[in-house]
């Protein structure tokens, strides 16, 4: 009889381990948020001073900044396992691969949500966009978007961790896969900011939720391929 550690306990242990480490060094939350804000700022330069153009492009720029900064988050959390061969030891524990994956996804979530919490107001300020009334819809979009990104980002950060040219490979593999997430999130954000009826936003949120569920399920089912040497 092989006692496999209960999945919930594994998820909490893996996520807790990453949080404790990262919050102690606080390098990741601050670094990622700062990078996101700088990206938004630079986008402002790129699209010129025309306020109307910026406001119109704001949702797209917000989500591009979130995704670029998000890649820092998942890469950093994967680096924890790559350093000192920790990932190899992780694979030796009698724990289900799916639970370890869900632990890493859970670990990434708060950092991505923090990114949203920083970049949303930053977008409002830099691109003169009124977010007040649309806040609940925006928060929902950021939560669902972050969850989907964490699911796919965690998987691909793991898959490419020990591969040659992984710095190029991660964005190359990740961006096409999250294209629907980016599209749905941006459309939901546009609808929310435009004050469209919630049913409009809800349809995009539904698509986001479907994406999240599918990707988490496939990610958990195939994460064994990431841990396998």
């Amino acid at each position: 009889m092989t006692e496999v550690t209960s999945d919930v306990r594994v998820i909490i242990a893996v996520a807790g381990k990453d949080w404790r480490g990262e919050l102690r060094s606080r390098q990741l939350p601050i670094g990622a948020a700062f990078f996101g804000a700088v990206t938004l700022f630079v986008f402002g330069f790129a699209l010129g001073p025309d306020r109307a153009a910026l406001a119109q492009a704001a949702p797209g720029l917000l989500w591009l900044a979130l995704i670029l900064a998000g890649m820092l988050v998942v890469s950093r959390l994967q680096q924890l396992e790559t350093d000192d061969g920790a990932g190899e030891q992780l694979a030796l524990y009698p724990a289900s691969r799916g639970a370890i994956y869900l632990g890493k996804v859970t670990a990434a979530l708060p950092f991505l949500l923090l990114l949203g919490a920083v970049l949303l107001p930053a977008t409002a300020v830099l691109y003169s966009v009124v977010i007040g009334p649309a806040l609940p819809a925006l928060v929902a979009t950021i939560v669902l978007g972050s969850f989907g990104f964490a699911a796919v980002g965690t998987f691909y950060a793991g898959l490419t961790a020990r591969m040659r040219a992984r710095e190029i490979l991660l964005p190359l593999l990740l961006l096409p896969v999250i294209a629907p997430l980016l599209l749905a999130a941006v459309r939901a954000t546009v609808a929310a900011l435009a004050g469209d009826p919630f049913s409009e936003v809800a349809s995009w949120l539904g698509l986001l939720a479907a994406f999240d569920l599918v990707m988490v399920a496939v990610g958990a089912a195939t994460y064994g391929t990431v841990l396998e040497e």
Binding site: L175, P180, R187, L207, V214, T222, T225, E228
Partner: protein, 236 residues
């Protein structure tokens, strides 16, 4: 010249003949379309390519699941064959879409056409698949990593299609009349026969390419393993 099995050679010949005839039929026999003119002739090969592109990637994912479960190299060889041939047909689909788009829409690339955008993403996903294979040396690990990428890509495609189709729904009224009729022109008899004719030819070609690519992949796996066994001195 390697003596491929007779049925495979016949399949190849049949494919060449059928596609040749279908092309001749589509280009010269079918009358030009009312509003699209000759450009409409591109649709036969465009649609045929598109179906085979998507079909191939579904099978690549299925073969990849087979590899992850049974770890038999045949599944990996099949997944590679489906993916690589799938890329070929995806490129064909995109090229046809652009050649058709310029005369009909006025631009090589139309964001309005959800199928074109979806196909382009498909190409990006499967170039990633081929790159992951190329960057991994150990045959078993290569198969395993590639399998995961193929499955995630295949699962991603329907969602890509939905999101792009909904997104397109927001852009109404391109310059050339209602997009619906242009994208799915009313199907006069000749159009359908030309399309089916080409489709049949491409099915034969697709099958031939898959079989040959599978054989090549299998031989490559055997050679790679033989080289490893020889290096290790373990009896074959």
């Amino acid at each position: 010249m390697n003596r491929a099995a007779l049925p495979v050679r016949l399949l190849g010949i049949a494919a060449v003949l059928t596609i040749g005839a279908a092309t001749w039929y589509g280009l010269f026999v079918v009358p030009p379309d009312l509003n699209q003119g000759d450009a409409q002739r591109i649709l036969y090969i465009h649609v045929a390519s598109a179906w085979h592109a998507f079909f191939s990637f579904g099978l690549a994912a299925a073969a990849s699941v087979g590899w992850l479960i049974w770890r038999n190299p045949r599944f990996d060889a099949a997944a590679l064959a489906f993916a690589e041939v799938g890329v070929l047909f995806t490129v064909s689909t995109i090229w046809a879409g652009m050649m058709w788009g310029k005369p009909v829409w006025g631009t090589y690339w139309q964001w309005e056409d959800p199928r074109l955008v979806t196909t382009a993403l498909l190409l990006a996903l499967y170039l990633g698949y081929l790159l992951v294979r190329r960057l991994t040396d150990d045959p078993v690990r290569r198969a395993t990593r590639a399998a995961a990428v193929a499955i995630i890509a295949a699962v991603d495609i329907p969602i890509v299609h939905f999101s792009v189709t909904w997104w397109r729904g927001l852009h109404q009224g391109p310059t050339f009349g209602n997009p619906e009729t242009i994208l799915n022109p009313p199907a006069p008899g000749a159009f359908v026969t030309a399309l089916l004719f080409m489709l049949f030819g491409v099915i034969l070609l697709w099958a031939w390419l898959i079989i040959r690519r599978y054989q090549l992949a299998r031989l490559e796996w055997i050679a790679e393993e033989a080289a490893q066994r020889a290096a290790v001195g373990v009896p074959a």
